[in-house]
């Protein structure tokens, strides 16, 4: 029996972690990044940009001091040299940002110094949370297909990004999710009963049945309730991080979003505010290839989302989202530095949305079965972790069989229980609009009540809590 509880990792950080944050100052170190255009252009010399970074971290006044005698540009907006030949900066100055990984597709550690050395029990916990999420997805997806719930969104293929990042955080860190981050909440210990209660909008739903399925939230687990509008959480997360910085309690904020949401104006706002106001925050982009049906090549022209970090003066990295250890390492280091240095970090986790966008979507209309099969069969975060565990003798066929049976049982029990529960009290329609129930809401409530008394035979009142 696996306890779904909030767990802290029983081990410390990695001393030998050679972390490759693609910050502006660190661009040179990264293989595969074309720096030719940068190097040719004296005005963008990396050394100068390094100075800029140093300024930023120290939180000193960043505008360059006015110094008229020197033969340098005095424009307040940039610190740079003059050049005497016309040259545009190539858009591919930052291109081919490498994908950081720890394991190869067969689950073998590539560079032992990057192995996070996570103990067996915790790795098993990773695996069990990833597979439990998978099982829950399957059952809730089917229950939508059977008309039992109205809507669902699966997390297939993105389990590694959820568990790897969640495990690297402190449980006090505040999470702002988009909507496909159920694994983060599951890792933190959100019980299956409450996942189900939300999807069924029953009387146990913490959100009081007011939102569509998958809009989870938990005050106790520091997971801000999901809202449907995309990217709105990004500037909010920056604000929350600013408030936490002022509290000085060593807390950080993590903000999840997709590569599609990163096109919203709010994403720009959030990045720019976090950078200029020096907020301890991790922007975690799940680049899963599709925004509903729109592929990434119709979403942006640059090198993904990580390439935008330097433009905001923000530390950035691209990781293999299907490698739970890579996600873990990147998030852990980003968190440590975000708090220590009061600055935002951008992690672009490359992954693939194996499921449809939601139950309202049929992805066969815009992508091939072969493509989906590749990710499902050959590059899946769960199978990669399983390879890793199998190689160490940490997980065998018998355990797999037993766990599959047990996890399915856990999910089915929660599912059946949720289905039997009553719906929330109708009065809850009127609470929480404001902190207080205003006179007009009171009036509407009484009006509804009178209506229900008069025409009760037309309403299924017996399915609602009294």
């Amino acid at each position: 029996m696996v306890e779904i509880e909030n767990r802290k990792l029983p081990f410390g950080g990695q001393s030998d972690l050679q972390f490759k944050m693609a910050a502006i100052g660190g661009l040179r170190r990264l293989c595969g990044i074309s720096l030719n255009a940068v190097c040719r252009n004296k005005g963008l010399k990396a050394s100068r940009l390094c100075q800029y970074r140093a300024f930023r971290i120290n939180g000193v006044v960043r505008q360059q001091p006015f110094d008229s005698p020197t033969e340098k540009p005095q424009f307040p907006g940039a610190s740079a040299d003059f050049v005497d030949h016309l040259e545009f900066i190539q858009p591919n100055v930052i291109s081919g940002i490498p994908v950081y990984r720890v394991m190869d597709r067969q689950g073998q550690i590539i560079n032992p110094s990057e192995d996070p050395q996570i103990p067996k029990e915790e790795v098993r916990n990773f695996y069990q949370k990833m597979t439990l999420l998978n099982t829950m997805d399957r059952i809730l997806y089917e229950s939508q297909r059977q008309g039992r719930i109205s809507f669902y969104m699966t997390n297939y293929g993105e389990e590694g990004t959820h568990i790897g990042s969640a495990a690297a955080l402190d449980s006090n860190d505040l999470v702002f999710g988009q909507y496909r981050e159920a694994g983060v909440l599951m890792y933190r210990g959100f019980p299956l009963d409450l996942f189900m209660a939300q999807c069924y909008a029953n009387m146990d739903d913490l959100g009081k049945g007011r939102q569509m399925p998958v809009h989870y939230g938990s005050k106790d687990l520091n997971f801000v309730t999901i809202s449907s509008p995309l990217a709105t959480q990004i500037p909010q997360a920056a604000g929350a991080a600013y408030a936490m910085k002022r509290e000085n309690t060593n807390r950080a904020v993590i903000c999840y979003f997709g590569e599609g949401a990163a096109s919203e104006g709010d994403a720009h706002a959030g990045f720019n505010f976090a950078a200029t106001l020096e907020c301890p925050i991790i922007f975690f982009c799940r680049n899963n290839g599709y925004a509903i049906s729109t592929p990434t090549n119709e979403q942006y022209r640059g090198d993904g989302i990580a390439a935008r970090g330097p433009g905001y003066g923000m530390m950035s990295i691209r990781v293999d989202g299907n490698d739970v250890f890579a996600v873990y390492n990147a998030t852990k280091e980003a968190r440590r530095r975000a708090i220590a240095e009061n600055q935002p970090f951008l992690i672009e986790a490359m992954t693939y949305r194996i499921g449809h966008h939601s139950t309202s979507d049929d992805s066969s209309a815009y992508r091939s079965v072969d493509e989906v099969n590749y990710w499902d069969k050959q590059d899946h975060p769960i199978s990669r972790l399983r390879h890793y565990m199998t190689a160490r003798g940490w997980w065998g066929e018998d355990e797999e069989r037993a766990w599959r049976k047990q996890s399915r049982k856990l999910v089915m029990e929660a599912f059946e229980k949720a289905e039997r529960r009553l719906k929330p009290r109708p009065e809850l329609l009127f609470t929480d609009v404001y902190q207080e129930v205003t006179p007009i809401l009171e009036k509407q409530k009484e009006s509804l009540w009178r209506h229900l008394q008069q025409y009760k035979e037309h309403y299924p009142l017996d399915v609602y809590d009294k």
Binding site: F176, T225, M244, F273
Partner: protein, 381 residues
């Protein structure tokens, strides 16, 4: 004002001839108003012209129930409220475009130096970011006071206000809320504001349960209502009539005090007609009421709504039951303006008490330009 006068005439059953008389009386009064220097105007004639308004601000009677008072104009009373808040609430932060040096309307002057640059700071120029950031600060439990530089520029933040701030508490089942957020924005017409520095967008937000929308009529109300908005556990939008920033001067209590939200104030009791307005327009209808009394012998009851959402329908309806007539006037366009909501509610609640159709007084599209032209044109003559 002419429209208001027409309504009053119709109410009083006067002839067309008297309309002309009233109108001419109105114009002479209007001119006289403009010739008077507003209280805080610079003595130079040129400055007087720029600050000349379409109304005369009458200071509030001095009240001592909140302790010692000081002469303050509206922007100083806002600063005073912010000062009180920063002093009493260590989590409070104030931010927006150009607020660090004191703000383009001088509402945050001296606060950064007094409380530190981490508490009073500039943000990048991005309204959706300012409001989104403010929501996040509030969700984390701190007090967020966001400034949008002009109400005309609040629209990029519309999604954050309507979909996020207003629904935070409801959608989370009260797990999370951003009740500590207050958004301040200069609002309404001003002599030279023209098309994009004069808008009164309160009606857009009045359609959005979950937020509170407040407009003060002068310095005393600005401080008391702003402090109520900051203390209120719901996100509030506080629109500051920018024409009053310097023109309106009251004796304002120095210490913190609150004026309750969602309570309209009856400024003058009357028996024949109820006049409802908020913000700057309160001063206009006060003059109209005096004119109606003088020229027509019509007794007007004047109500300052103060809070647009959730609004105090009880006070307005009680008044209309007594007077049998209602006129609502605002600066914003009449179609879909908040007067329509007031009118509709009063019609539902007071149908049998009404003795005349309810009148809404505003222009439909042109008010901003007209105010600009008329006040400046009058100045030139």
């Amino acid at each position: 004002m002419a429209a208001a006068a027409r309504f009053l005439l119709r109410t009083a059953g006067s002839s067309k001839a008297s309309i002309t008389n009233v109108n001419s009386g109105l114009h002479s009064k209007f001119g006289a108003t403009l010739l008077r220097a507003s209280p805080s105007c610079h003595p130079l004639a040129k400055t007087q012209k720029r600050h000349a308004a379409h109304f005369t601000f009458q200071p509030e009677p001095v009240q001592t129930k909140y302790g010692p008072t000081q002469k303050m104009n509206l922007f100083q009373s806002v600063t005073s409220a912010l000062d009180n808040t920063l002093a009493s609430d260590p989590t409070a932060v104030i931010f927006g475009e150009d607020v660090a040096f004191g703000g383009v309307f001088r509402c945050t002057v001296g606060l950064r130096d007094k409380y530190g640059k981490d508490r009073v700071f500039n943000t990048p120029l991005c309204e959706q970011g300012i409001v989104g950031f403010g929501i996040g600060v509030a969700v984390a439990g701190a007090t967020a006071i966001a400034e949008i530089q002009f109400a005309d520029y609040i629209y990029p933040a519309f999604d954050q206000i309507v979909n996020e701030a207003a629904k935070y508490r409801y959608r989370s089942g009260n797990l999370f809320d951003c009740g500590n957020l207050t958004i301040r924005a200069p609002w309404g017409c001003v002599g030279h504001g023209s098309l994009y520095h004069s808008q009164s967008p309160e009606a857009f937000f009045a359609h959005c349960p979950g937020i509170k929308v407040v407009v003060p009529r002068g310095p005393v109300q600005a401080k008391g209502l702003l402090l109520s908005c900051i203390a209120d556990q719901n996100p509030c939008i506080f629109f500051e009539p920018k024409i009053l920033y310097r023109a309106a001067v009251d004796q304002v209590p120095v210490e913190s005090y609150q004026i309750p939200l969602s309570e309209a104030e009856v400024l003058q009791e009357g028996s024949d007609v109820t006049l409802v307005a908020w913000g700057t327009q309160v001063h206009v209808i006060k003059e109209v009421a005096a004119m109606a009394q003088e020229k027509l012998g019509v007794s007007c009851e004047i109500i300052d709504l103060q809070t647009i959402l959730p609004w105090d329908s009880e006070t307005v309806c009680k008044s209309v039951v007594k007077t049998g007539r209602l006129l609502v006037s605002h600066e914003a366009p009449v179609t879909g303006g908040f007067a329509a909501e007031v009118s509709s509610t009063v019609q539902e609640e007071c149908f049998l008490n009404l003795e005349a159709p309810i009148a809404r007084v505003s222009d439909d599209q042109l008010l901003k330009c007209r105010i600009t032209w008329s006040s400046e044109a009058q100045c030139r003559h």
